[in-house]
Amino acid sequence: MPELREFLQMGGYALYVWSSYGLSFIVLVLNVIIPLWREKEIVQYIAGQPPRDA
């Protein structure tokens, strides 16, 4: 598929273009996973505490 290869080569700028999109993808995905994971931890922590003001 010459068209796909041409697309992936990005006119010789493949390294720069794909690094930019890849880096953005990684940073955005991490920023979704980390807070959701943290929320789960907080919920479990609170649920595991003995009742104090009951």
Partner: protein, 248 residues
Amino acid sequence: MFTAISQYAAPKNFFTLSRRLAPVFGWTSLALMIAGAYGGLVVAPPDYQQGESVRIIYVHVPSAWMSLFVYVVMAAAGAAGLIWRVKVMDAIARGSAPLGASFTFLALATGSLWGKPMWGAWWVWDARLTSELILLFLYLGYMALQSAIEDPRVAARAGAILALIGLVNIPIIHYSVEWWSTLHQGPTVTKIGAPSIHISMLVPLLIMALAWMCYYFAMVLVRARCELLLLERNTAWARELTARRAVT
């Protein structure tokens, strides 16, 4: 109207609102990102001078815009927390910092990846790049301050003051390309009069910018509700909500 909005100043109501709104913004953002990336990588034409490397702007420019927008939100929410002592505002300010730092990092990194082939250098100490780097340090300084102070109220107050002082950097970043002769190009979209960017490039750029905006709204809602949950861990509503979720 005011009571309709102000009821969300109560942490419990904000928490419920966040649970409902964050997925809406999140999925909207994902759809826009796919459309914007397709538009930017496939549909939009290569630049007559920069060739295919111009496609980097579709992630660079939204990140740079959001790095400024998030900072203004962070400072405004911090100020509102400082003045009216609304916990939700403090949580929004605190939740914005890592997102703003991420956008700033992306703006710098993707700019660098564009600068190497186009300017022949990964980095130059021009006014735009330097002031954006200072913005990254402001975000990191804010986050360091937050984790260094144990009392959440003192941390919020100190953070708000830092954010407000750092606000002076925002117009400097924005106007740096006009005030000083920078290697970084001047504005093309927000220029007075018609934007000097072709519609075929402008449309994917604006779609990506909207995607980044929705992404920020989704994730700041999640981060802020985490902060509130931790802050209110001993209240009845927090226990009730977490007990229900821990079982299911």
